[in-house]
């Protein structure tokens, strides 16, 4: 108990130095936590994807569409229980700064395939029966102050003109990872407009979403779908929703890797700072450690005091850093909700914070402990006075 008392008292012998070191660790852990949360948010779509859904798109590229006629063939394929479709609309609300994902979907089948988008039954009914109706996620509606019944104009970028929708519902996510920043309207509305204005762009689908009867059949169904449309004008590429989402991530993988590297660099830097603090501390107290050894304290008592102090400082900073990560991430996520629909601090991030604290405490204490343990008592005592 007295030894615990000693390293706690020792830790605050140079209050300013210790406080600055703790602040440094707090900032490093906070930065590390936020960067890791950015990475987690980057993969949020992947995490939220279902194993029982496949996505079929044009084999050449996402920007090429598939004919609506494929739908009938897809629904008859073994292992497929439901088929829905979606077109990336790319509409702009007032200004480009107000970016959010908006899709034309076939509502009934889509909502059936995505039970994580939870709508009140009355709102769902209203959406299904209104050709110009739309639904928005809870965060998106909050962001723009939309209420059910509001008219929402979107300026088309892919599909020209100003499109007016009536908000029929606001969905909430069943899970914390569900994206509540999306906007959906009826594919039929888009298609009918295309039939009138540019018929050659009508009856085209961006992606088909296939609901499987059994997730274990994903590979088999994918192969069957792609084989069916082999050598057609629009060959398909079918993959799991997870793989589909990962293909987006892959486009920006360099950024994710850079963020991951920076997050670890932050830890390495603070490790060097804490190691320097502990080295200075141990150098100043080498005479005291010699006294402890003289009194009969063994090497592990000495090492325990140094590592205890190192861990005390590191964990104090880590605890503060973790405590701050949550409110800062909340605020950060609110500011960047258009880029990161979900910005939650993952449990793994906290584990990584703790692991980083352990590594920092350990590495920072090794050299001073080794030095204090190995120095001859007579040499250590000579440093005093």
């Amino acid at each position: 108990m007295l030894l615990l008392n000693i390293f706690v008292k020792n830790a605050f012998r140079h209050k300013l130095r210790t406080i600055l070191t703790i602040v440094g660790i707090t900032i490093a852990i906070l930065a590390f936590g936020l960067l890791r949360t950015v990475v987690t948010a980057w993969y949020a779509g992947v995490e939220a994807s279902s194993a029982s859904r496949l996505v079929t798109r044009n084999a050449i590229s996402l920007i090429f569409s598939l004919p609506i006629s494929y739908r009938e063939k897809l629904i008859r394929m073994p292992g497929v229980r439901q088929v829905s479709l979606a077109n990336w609309f790319g509409g702009v609300y007032v200004t480009e700064k107000n970016f959010f994902p908006n899709f034309a979907i076939e509502p009934k089948s889509y909502l059936e395939l995505y039970p994580e988008f939870v709508l009140e039954p009355a709102e769902k009914e209203a959406f299904l029966h209104d050709r110009k109706g739309a639904v928005a996620g809870r965060k998106l509606a909050q962001r723009f102050g939309w209420k059910v019944g509001d008219s929402i104009p979107l300026r088309g970028t892919i599909y020209p003109g100003t499109w007016l929708f009536v908000l029929r519902g606001i969905y909430r996510g069943a899970e914390s990872s569900t994206d509540e920043n999306q906007f959906f309207f009826q594919w039929d509305h888009l298609n009918e407009s295309m039939l009138k204005s540019t018929p050659r762009r009508a009856n085209q689908v961006g992606v088909y979403v296939l609901g499987l009867t059994n997730p274990n059949m994903a590979a088999e169904v994918s192969r069957t779908v792609d084989a069916t449309f082999k050598n057609s004008l629009a060959e398909t590429l079918t993959e799991t929703e997870k793989a589909f989402q990962l293909s987006f991530i892959a486009m920006t993988e360099a950024i994710v890797v850079a963020i991951q590297i920076v997050s670890f660099v932050v830890i390495v830097i603070i490790m060097a700072v804490v190691a320097n603090t502990m080295a200075m501390t141990a150098r100043e107290r080498i005479g005291e450690y010699a006294v402890f050894k003289t009194l009969g304290f063994s090497w592990w008592h000495i090492a325990g005091m140094i590592f205890g102090e190192s861990f005390f400082i590191t964990f104090a900073g880590c605890a503060l850093g973790i405590a701050l990560t949550f409110p800062v991430a909340r605020s950060f996520g609110a500011q960047l909700s258009s880029f990161f629909p979900t910005f939650n601090v993952a449990r793994e991030t906290i584990y990584l914070d703790l692991a980083a604290a352990i590594v920092i405490g350990l590495v920072a204490g090794i050299f001073p402990a080794w030095r204090a343990v190995t120095i001859r008592i007579a040499d250590g005592l000579r440093r005093i006075g």
């Binding site: 007295l2 030894l3 000693i6 005291e288 009969g296 304290f297 005093i384």
Partner: protein
């Protein structure tokens, strides 16, 4: 009483046999002690004197088990400490030797009570027993009313008395003091020497004291001189 003749009536607590020690300085080996052989009797108060660099502190360190001989053997209380491993030596020091340093070497973040309690943490005593021992040791040195003071709140003489309380709290057989009055004013120095003399006389502690100060040496019962690594009075 002061004498230059070693006490030989009691059985020796310390026996040195052909002890040699050298240090390496800048690639050169500098002999510090050469073939030292002598005994220190049980209950002795011995002052080791000599000029700087004569090897007296080194000799004290070797006897106290905080440094290793190059050759030779040292027996303390019948134990050949030169044959002990580092960890065995640490345990042995904790049980058998009390240390008093020139600069007191108290832990500044701990109170006088906690400083004195330190050696007892290595014993099986419980908290209440430790408290009793510490209070008694502080009473012996006359600092029972200062036990909650930190070293920085005490004078040099008081700090040295706390150091003496720390040295005796485990009831060791041997007290070693390296220039215990070297950093004190005359009055404080006399108090410390008197305290050491009283511990030797009343409690029967064997005391080995390194000092430059002839007045300090006068308190000892035996004085031995070291010159360039040899006992100057070895022949006597």
């Amino acid at each position: 009483m002061t004498t230059d003749t070693p006490e030989t009536t009691a059985s020796p607590i310390v026996r040195l046999r052909s002890v040699s020690k050298s240090y390496r300085r800048g690639g050169q080996i500098v002999p510090v002690l050469e073939e030292i052989t002598f005994d220190i009797a049980q209950g002795e108060f011995l002052a080791l004197m000599g000029p700087s660099g004569s090897g007296k502190s080194t000799l004290l360190n070797l006897i106290a088990g905080i440094d290793k001989v190059d050759s030779g053997a040292i027996f303390v209380g019948g134990v050949e400490i030169t044959a002990l491993s580092e960890s065995e030596l640490a345990i042995w020091r904790g049980l058998n030797v009390g240390f008093i340093f020139q600069f007191y070497n108290l832990i500044p973040v701990l109170t006088a009570f906690e400083n004195v309690e330190l050696p007892l943490l290595l014993t099986p005593l419980n908290r209440r027993e430790r408290r009793e021992h510490v209070e008694m040791a502080l009473r012996v040195v006359g600092l029972a009313d200062r036990m909650d003071h930190r070293p920085g709140q005490l004078s040099g003489g008081q700090q040295q008395r706390v150091a003496i309380a720390r040295a005796v709290v485990t009831d060791p057989t041997l007290l070693v003091a390296d220039e215990p009055t070297g950093d004190l004013d005359r009055r404080s120095a006399e108090e410390i020497l008197h305290l050491l003399e009283r511990l030797n006389r009343e409690s029967g502690k064997s005391v080995i004291m390194v000092t430059h100060d002839p007045r300090a040496a006068e308190q000892a019962r035996t004085v031995r001189h070291l010159e360039k690594g040899f006992l100057a009075d070895a022949a006597s």
